[in-house]
């Protein structure tokens, strides 16, 4: 199966945009990935070994949190996307105006 690597993590994955791995489930696929590219591990997992909260993992178009998480079975033609979250906004605190809430 193919794992798509987001732009910021490619520097830890041999500058590759996607990597092929052999696995039976999502957890195995991610393990295979981090075994080949160990520097990726700290960007994907906490010290306790949990996927970081802002790291979304999608099997094709489905969030694995709503499937069977890392036990979700995968097939050879599936693709796994690692997608750090994208959020923010102009709250009351600001680097230049220093307003309080």
């Amino acid at each position: 199966m193919k794992i798509h690597i987001p732009t910021p993590l490619r520097q830890y994955a041999g500058k590759k945009a996607s990597i092929d791995v052999q696995a039976d489930n999502v957890g195995q696929a991610l393990s295979a990935l981090t075994a080949t590219y160990p520097d990726l591990r700290r960007h994907l997992y906490t010290d306790e070994g949990k996927l970081r909260a802002f790291v979304n993992v999608y099997l094709n178009d489905e969030d694995i949190r709503y499937l069977h998480k890392e036990s979700t079975p995968v097939k050879e033609n599936d693709s796994l996307s690692i997608v750090p979250s994208i959020a923010g906004g102009a709250r009351a605190y600001c680097c230049c105006c220093r307003m309080n809430a």
């Binding site: 945009a17 997608v83 979250s85 959020a87």
Partner: protein
């Protein structure tokens, strides 16, 4: 330096005007020429999923991002950053922007929209080797008349 195609620049500013008084958001597509030069040749609008507080928060649905990423890949483009608007708020990153930014090495473009009119547009580069040391750095932004979508062979 972030060099952005003038049409894209106009489009992302207009997006902020259209969604005012809510924040708009989207993806900057293009390529990185080298560490100091990043080119935006196309933008992709995204929906703001923060319907609970759209006037001062934004969030892009990862599923929408995957679709954008797939279409960009087919055109040979990469994600080089993201944009959003600050309705009636400065075009500077907020503590929320920094806390929620995780695409290290990417550009975050912010437009101040004052009473429905786009004003300043600034870019900030997210630096740092990992989450604990991430920080925004002001990044010069230049709108350029026309940027070729693919790199011209030497």
């Amino acid at each position: 330096m972030l060099r952005i195609d003038q049409t894209c620049y106009d489009q992302l500013r207009r997006h902020g005007e259209e969604t005012y008084p809510h924040e708009c958001c989207g993806v900057l597509l293009g390529r990185v020429e080298d560490e100091d030069q990043r080119l935006v040749t196309s933008i992709a609008r995204a929906g703001n999923t923060r319907t609970d507080s759209p006037q001062n928060r934004y969030n892009i649905d990862p599923r929408e991002l995957i679709t954008i990423q797939r279409q960009a890949r087919e055109r040979g483009l990469d994600i080089v950053g993201f944009y959003h608007s600050h309705p009636d708020h400065p075009a500077r990153w907020s503590s929320t922007d920094l806390a929620e930014a995780h695409w290290l090495g990417c550009s975050y473009v912010i437009t101040r929209v004052e009473k429905g009119q786009a004003r300043e547009t600034n870019s900030f580069l997210l630096l740092g080797g990992e989450e604990a040391e991430k920080r925004f750095q002001d990044e010069p932004l230049q709108a350029v008349a026309q940027i070729a979508e693919t790199k011209t062979p030497a």
